[in-house]
Symmetry: C3
Subunit: 309 residues, 3 copies
Amino acid sequence: MAMTRPGIERLSHVVSGRQFDREMLESIFARASALETVRDHRLDGRIMAALFYEPSTRTRLSFESAMLRLGGSVIGTEAARQFSSAVKGETLEDTVRVIDGYADVIVLRHDEAGAAERAAAVSRVPVINAGDGPGEHPTQALLDVYTIHMELGRIDGLRVALCGDMGQARTTRSLALMLSLYDNLHITFVMPETCEPSADVIDRLRERGVSFDIRHALDQAIEDIDVVYLPRVQVERYADPAERNRLEGRFRLTPELMTRVPSEAIIMTPLPRRDEIDVAVDADPRAAYFRQARNGVAIRMALLDMLLL
Amino acid sequence: MAMTRPGIERLSHVVSGRQFDREMLESIFARASALETVRDHRLDGRIMAALFYEPSTRTRLSFESAMLRLGGSVIGTEAARQFSSAVKGETLEDTVRVIDGYADVIVLRHDEAGAAERAAAVSRVPVINAGDGPGEHPTQALLDVYTIHMELGRIDGLRVALCGDMGQARTTRSLALMLSLYDNLHITFVMPETCEPSADVIDRLRERGVSFDIRHALDQAIEDIDVVYLPRVQVERYADPAERNRLEGRFRLTPELMTRVPSEAIIMTPLPRRDEIDVAVDADPRAAYFRQARNGVAIRMALLDMLLL
Amino acid sequence: MAMTRPGIERLSHVVSGRQFDREMLESIFARASALETVRDHRLDGRIMAALFYEPSTRTRLSFESAMLRLGGSVIGTEAARQFSSAVKGETLEDTVRVIDGYADVIVLRHDEAGAAERAAAVSRVPVINAGDGPGEHPTQALLDVYTIHMELGRIDGLRVALCGDMGQARTTRSLALMLSLYDNLHITFVMPETCEPSADVIDRLRERGVSFDIRHALDQAIEDIDVVYLPRVQVERYADPAERNRLEGRFRLTPELMTRVPSEAIIMTPLPRRDEIDVAVDADPRAAYFRQARNGVAIRMALLDMLLL
């Protein structure tokens, strides 16, 4: 399969959602779509190191599956802290300089914001940020936007409801920023009265001419909508049990509510879910979240392919 | 190597030893035997997910070896509980629906009976039960019966001593049920006076015309025998130390006892062993237990091959 | 690539640095050098089991990378203790006799001296010692000597400073013993006054005619030198804080000290480091330690290739 590779020259590491422009996203999505069913040996002989300072089985297995489907191999650890256990204070930089001698690409999960950037600064091989604490998780944002693109065929002009509270700061913030690359979007933030979108997101949306409003319950945001993005509202963060109960009901998607969701809309969630989406919704064709999880493999195949081929 | 594939149309998941009939077992054993020394790429591009909710290194490595020898690849985790750690209560079903997007077959180890069946009910790819708590461990039963078949050339008409107490409920129960598919067997249960075979096993043996008796010490069951199956009697479950000592002596296979075992008989154990089989027995050609462990790889190769090819 | 394989007939297990003679080392180094950039399928279908009774991520990933680069596959566990958890006291020997049915070579990390030798005694497949507690870590010594060979083009006649205290007993002892196979060496031990080289090392050096002296601070050993081997002095083992501070300063390599190191000399450390080598030294071309870490992959490729091909 011959593929044009626009933008490849700019992709040496994947550390932040901010590094992508719209052209780059389209290039990645085209690659992901072309690779979705590919099982070949294009990355034969290449090794991916999954360097996880905290376990994240879902993300790790998704990356491993992507690498294996392109014919590459995987080494890794979910206990990367152990690198520094023998001697308190081995730096991430030292660890990366060892691992870049073992592998052709490093997928890094870390609990400190900025870790991926520090790793990329010293690594001789490409680094992919698989989540750096309160920082970024760019491959999650990519697979989210890719899912909208694949499900609805376009992103310009869509109406997107982004649910969440302070617990989803990273996820919804990254997604909102990446969506702002598209035109004529309207974003509805659905969050408790005690939350608000972060200042940098609001600035960015204004700068890019993205209209938005804020609602405080799910049922106010599901009728005139194309995408409902519904991570769990972490109600256990609220001290008052009465408040918790009130909130839980307001951010829970039920089959009843689904009757009001447009027939062409889609429901997304980064998973895991607890009860913010009733399992009775799963059978609805608009429930896109398991397809969304599978899209994570395609997006990661595209990134590995662009970084390594 | 061209192989006939009888029964393949019935094998979509492996969740229970009860799903196999004799014809199916023979088909699996023929496949296992044909694959034993195979190292090829027939499963090239296929991915097995080892989804272990509790560690079981022996079983996991055996499955991984099987998949790799057929040219497939492996992803996995021994900490599958971590899937639900971010949010208490992610269901097994949700996890399986994510993993079936990453892999072509799921090998599941879980601590709850019925977990494999629940996983199979929602999975888009084949599920293999690698042990579900007090439930079943069908690949162990398959490799046990396969070992008898390979060592002695037949199963009909054999005299089999099944040792064990309540600690081995799952192992000996599954094996007894699978053996009942064969003809003219005689089973001798060897167990403390305080134990007895479970009612469903006795019913099944009677229904299938398998004769059996019960003995209370190993030395009463080794002379007129073809197979001695000897998992460790978990004497630490007995509160009284005098009782423990008495039991330990009665279920321990020594070189002296081996002089009374027929020269064509075989000794089996699912391993690990502690002292129920004296290490001095290991050099005896009748000690089949390490060959039995190796047969686990061949059986799992056969199952993966039948499910995926 | 056709390669002569001198010595291959003697290499069936790698358990001790003492099993190598000079001719054997040269054969391994030639193989390592030839394989360094190889990414092929010569070990296609072969499986390496990484059987780690204690985690050692660096060593494990280095072995895995080596195996994968030669086209082999890997199974493994960092929790090999779990093999014996179901039943207290499963022996290492039993575990090895199971694993040798799953894999074509076993890489063993254990916390007891002599474990590798015990494993090799029962295994039907080659065993490589990846560190057995206070015993040996022969592949570390091999990669250290290989690094000197690659960096400086020779080993005969070199002046080598071996730093360390009781904490590095294993590392420096193994390295000193292996270096003693070469001619006209001079070794300078750099250690606190309270330490001395072990008696067997001194005996061996005298027997082989290797001259040596002992210094108590790094700055006394860096001017007339070809190699500075600088594991961290584990100052936290010293109770007295004043003593600790005094020692720390004496075994710390700074850019200032580097001005006195000969321009052709190299700095090595087994890593991890804390502050015994200032990060400002990293950019110096004489800082060989990250190249040394990469050499670990080449040496392990050579060993796997010689054991399995």
